[in-house]
């Protein structure tokens, strides 16, 4: 019973972060801003939902698989965001109109 409540609270936190991420994704117009809000959903909210599922499920093989999925997503989604940001910074010639660029990064 207690386990169910703790798991539901964790999943609820995750869903709240997801809602924030979706709102940001719809509100922002520029890709770097949108990526920032999408990253919240990818790394933080997803981890909370999976940890909630693990707490509800208890310790067994399914939980182990969920932990592996959580670790893999925590590895991949920041790298994915980094690659997207790098692609945008490399290919957009008018980057300085959108955001501040440090002097040593200017090509």
């Amino acid at each position: 019973m207690i386990r169910n409540i703790i798991g539901c609270i964790l999943i609820f936190i995750g869903v709240v972060f997801y809602i924030i991420s979706v709102i940001g994704n719809l509100k922002f117009k520029y890709i770097l801003n949108r990526m920032h809000s999408a990253g919240i959903g990818d790394s933080f909210a997803l981890s909370f939902v999976i940890i909630g599922c693990i707490v509800i499920n208890g310790l067994n093989v399914t939980s182990l698989k969920l932990i592996v999925a959580c670790v893999c997503l925590y590895f991949t989604s920041p790298v994915c965001s980094h690659m997207l940001a790098k692609l945008e910074a490399d290919t957009n010639p008018n980057l300085e109109e959108e955001c501040e660029v440090e002097k040593e990064c200017r090509s």
């Binding site: 893999c72 590895f75 790298v79 980094h82 690659m83 790098k86 692609l87 490399d90 290919t91």
Partner: protein, 254 residues
């Protein structure tokens, strides 16, 4: 004359489309309900597959037993279709030295090439071996759990693509180039064809096959299904990687 013909053509088009729409709607309305027990799909064929495949083929996964034993000829055709598709893309997109000379240099330099990225490379050092092991597990356990040659081959092909993007063409050329592609694909397809020809020959002449089917749930339980799964996996992973690299660069080498 031409104008009149165009008008007639348009009217005929509409009439044809209406006829086809009516035919489709009538056919759909005549179809039986989804999930009805008396449907013609619920016949003795699927029942036999579900009840007998675990001891006849030794594969606990009924889908694997179906596609690599009962309907292995169909799967042979599918893997050849994959190979032929890659060959067709080769013919269409291949850029050899002669055609490269004709292109102006700005066309060659136009494509954006991602430079070596330390963050991506470091994180993929942990991930790519895990992905390879997972793909090999999916292929090798294809007859015991959900999975098989097609899904495992797609996973391994994706790992190849990740490796290419993280470490560059020179790095992957050492172990995965056009030579290894041709050798692996042709050997896998030849092995598949020969193995299945033997089985069909033996079965049609009511002889005893030398390939044992243990059907005890171990990894060698299902006779030919494990090697055939590996062959299909090799073909699928090669196809995924070759299609990607052809559309990316127009060839295996730069």
């Amino acid at each position: 004359m031409n104008k009149k013909f165009n008008k007639l053509y348009n009217i005929l088009c509409v009439i044809f489309a209406l006829i086809f729409i009516a035919a489709m709607i009538i056919t759909v309305s005549a179809l039986p309900n989804i999930g009805d027990a008396t449907n013609p799909t619920n016949n003795e064929v699927s029942e036999k597959y579900l009840t007998d495949s675990s001891w006849e083929t030794g594969s606990l996964n009924a889908v694997s037993g179906m596609i690599l034993d009962y309907r292995a000829f169909d799967t042979l055709g599918e893997s050849h279709v994959l190979f032929v598709a890659t060959v067709a893309v080769f013919i269409l997109l291949r850029r050899d030295e002669d055609s490269r000379k004709d292109l102006p240099t700005r066309c060659l330099n136009q494509s954006y090439e991602q430079a070596y990225d330390p963050i991506l490379a470091k994180s993929l050092e942990f991930l790519i071996p895990a992905i390879f092991v997972f793909g090999i597990y999916v292929i090798a356990n294809g007859h015991l759990s959900p999975g098989g040659g097609f899904s495992g081959g797609a996973i391994i092909g994706a790992a190849f693509i990740l490796y290419l993007n993280a470490y560059g063409l020179e790095s992957i050329e050492r172990f995965c180039n056009s030579r290894t592609y041709l050798i692996c694909s042709c050997c896998a397809l030849l092995f598949y064809g020969l193995a299945k020809s033997y089985v069909f020959y033996v079965g049609a002449n009511h002889l005893h096959s030398i390939i044992p089917v243990l059907a005890d749930g171990s990894i060698l339980a299902s006779g030919l299904i494990l090697p055939l799964n590996i062959a299909v996996g090799v073909v699928v992973s090669n196809t995924v990687y070759a299609l990607y690299i052809m559309f990316r660069r127009g060839g295996f080498s730069r």
